[in-house]
Amino acid sequence: MKKVGGRLTLLALVVVMSVIFFIPSYQPFYQALPGWLKRVMPNKGITLGLDLQGGIHLVMEVDEERAVEIAVDRSVVSLQDLLVDKKIPVESVARTGPTQITIQFQNAEVKAQIQKMTDDYPTFSETESAGSANRLVWELRAIEVKRIKDSAINQALETIRNRIDQFGVAEPMVQRQGLKQIVVQLPGVKEPKRARDLIKETALLEFKMLDEDNQPKLDLPARIPKDKEADVLKQVEGKLPEGDQILFERAFEKDTGREYRIPYLVKKRVMLTGDVLSDARVSIGQFNDPYVSITFDAKGGREFERITGDNVKKRMAVVLDNTIYSAPVIQDRITGGRAQITGTFSMQEANDLAIVLRAGALPAPLKIIQDLTVGPSLGKDSIEKGVQATLFAGAMVVVFMIVYYRMSGVIADFALVLNLLCLIGALSALNATLTLPGIAGIVLTMGMGVDSNVLIFERIREELRLGKAVRLAVDGGYDKALLTIVDSHVTTLITGVALFLFGTGPIKGFAVTLCLGIGINLFTALIGTKVIFDLLNQRRKVEQLSI
């Protein structure tokens, strides 16, 4: 007589563990448990994939080159300021290549003066070959280029995390993928477009002065329809004064609400950026119109006071991502470190603007390279249909096995249920993400589980036909089928592992279920059902096997 006690205990243990791990996946039941039990139980189960619960999956790339250009642009501005402060007369300072600054001036004396300042800009090196008596060329050092690129992605990650935290999404995922990609997953988001805009917005806030002296010379149209900006830029091409640019203010018609643009001639020089903000909040104006009030930090507040003091009666543009939100006339020096961003906002727009300003600007624009959005209704549909089809398929197989193999079919069905239970338990224990292909994987493993039992049963039948006694036939059937089952499972496992290593997203989910399923199949087919046959044989001498 074979001992079955040990194997039965193992089987029972596996079943109990599977149930325990599964419970947190079924929230209604888990929530009903008493608190002390919840504390000792695993608290996380299967998560539903985006395809099942809806949400967005974004893959974005940080425009690293642009991050470097932006950093060089900042150096240009600070250099200009420094030159003005030190009263060194130069003709122009400009970025002339992705990592290159060219400074033009009148004479060699100035050149010497500027060269003395290189200590203040240790990240740049002078390219002597490109210079001349009245020109200096600085190049950003390669090591600094690399540092900026590296920090750009980290900074972008940090910023996106901040923004999403403030937006409020349950269980968001923000991850770096590879060298320069960022993956964002927001399950269950109800307003995908809003969330996407919030993440993607560079949110670079700048204060720039209008060039009111030169604007009349350009003969700019008073207002243009949205999307016709390119025409205006073409019209003024080549006529722009040195150091100026055209920016557009977004505006709305009072009665129709239609959006249009107002072109302005703006000095390129950045007076102040959003870096110096300490807070941004939504406030409501006297006509019930929302606006964003910003608070500068101490340094920013002093700067702002100085700038407004120097430019009384002039117009300053509040520029966000190269769009002017408002261009008020500075009435007086502004103290206290506060300012307002007005414009025609809806409450939600003002809210989102405050969020992005608080979370800070992205170091460079982001390019979305993959965007999957699944509406919650499709997800619900998919679950319902998938589960229904799975249940139905399972029922067909269960019935078929009983009809074909009688009592032994019942044992095989027991193995099938055991299989399903263990698989779901294992998925819960791993906190796996269940996707639609994952459900298909479960169904497929059920089919393969049946296959193992069919192999064994056919072998047992063969042995019985040879006239062997029941117990010998069962043992012989299992022994002979064993190698075949192992071989066939290993080959499938190889495919599963290859899929896991090189698959992405939903395919990975499929591979996980497949690999787990294969392992569990081996267990239930070789131990689970065998122990029951042994148990039957042990109780009494079985003369006839129902198979």
Partner: protein, 305 residues
């Protein structure tokens, strides 16, 4: 004992010429499909080719030709439309030529909002994929295929003989190509999910072949005086009822999935379904006769016993 088949004695090996002819045609179709995929002229899914797919669910039925007219009028002429009739669902696909920065999905939604103001709809799903991601996915899928095949040949060669490994791999390749060819001929979209299905059926077909090979190995070791052809024929006959019962159970599982598993699972299950049918056929009619094409290779399996 309920049996689908009693003891059979069918001369499968004798019919190998017909089988090779049929399989040859399927393989050629499959190869044409692979070439077309490589050239980019097959019906590659958005996930591989890059582009935009938006699925809308309307309150009332919407006519495809009206939807197409509306899209054309708004500069989205090369859209492909597919409707899921009973549920008023419409799938709009635009392939790679447009880049993701243009926010094609938003444009599509805007078109339908404008042109069909009385027919309210919700966006079921939208997918925008840049061309670089598609290329990466194609590469990854290719690597997964190559690795799993190499692994399988190696494993089977180690457990049996080299010719078994190669025959099994060829038969599996045949199944994958046949299903791919069928998808190509029917102009069905080849998506990432379909590729997953292809890989899964490769695993399944391999399982099926291994079971038959196992029996052949067992019989070869018994060193009967029979010819190799007879031995193989006997082995195939012996496992025939198992082959049919297991295929039947898997088919029983897949049919409900294909019919009622929802549109996402439909093509996936369909590919698997065909795969199971081809896989069963190929382990009997392709893999086993292939062993005979390598005559006299009675290597270590025979020596060992």
């Amino acid at each position: 004992m309920l049996e689908i088949l009693r003891k059979t004695d069918i001369d499968f090996m004798g019919k190998r010429r017909w089988a090779f002819l049929f399989s040859g045609i399927m393989v050629v179709l499959g190869i044409v499909a692979v070439i077309q995929v490589a050239r980019g002229s097959a019906n590659l899914g958005i996930d591989f080719a890059g582009g935009t797919a938006v699925q809308l669910k309307f309150d009332q039925a919407i006519r495809v030709d009206e939807a197409r007219k509306a899209l054309e009028a708004n500069g989205l002429a090369d859209a492909e439309l597919q409707e899921f009739g009973q549920e008023n669902k419409l799938l709009i696909r635009l392939k790679a030529s447009t880049t993701i920065e243009e926010k094609v999905a938003e444009r599509v939604v805007a078109v339908f909002t404008k042109e069909f103001p009385s027919n309210h709809f919700v966006v079921d799903s939208s997918m925008e994929i840049g061309p670089t991601i598609g290329q990466k996915l194609q590469q990854d899928a290719l690597i997964a295929v190559v690795i799993s095949f190499a692994g399988i040949i190696f494993y089977v060669a180690a457990r049996f003989e080299l010719r078994f490994g190669i025959a099994a791999a060829l038969a599996t390749f045949h199944d994958v190509l046949a299903v791919l060819g069928a998808f190509y001929v029917l102009d069905k979209e080849i998506t990432l999910l379909v590729v997953t299905a292809l890989l899964t059926l490769a695993g399944y077909s391999m399982t099926d072949t291994v079971v038959v090979f196992d029996r052949i190995r067992e019989n070869l070791r018994m060193r009967r005086r029979d010819t190799e052809e007879t031995i193989i024929n006997n082995a195939v006959n012996q496992v025939l009822s198992r082959t049919i019962v297991t295929s039947l159970t898997v088919v029983l599982v897949l049919i409900p999935l294909a019919l009622a598993g929802g549109e996402v699972l439909h093509d996936f299950s369909l590919a698997l379904l065909w795969g199971v049918i081809f896989g069963t056929y190929s382990s009997i009619f392709v893999a086993s006769p292939l062993l005979l094409l390598w005559p006299g290779a009675s290597g270590r399996l025979l020596k060992r016993s």
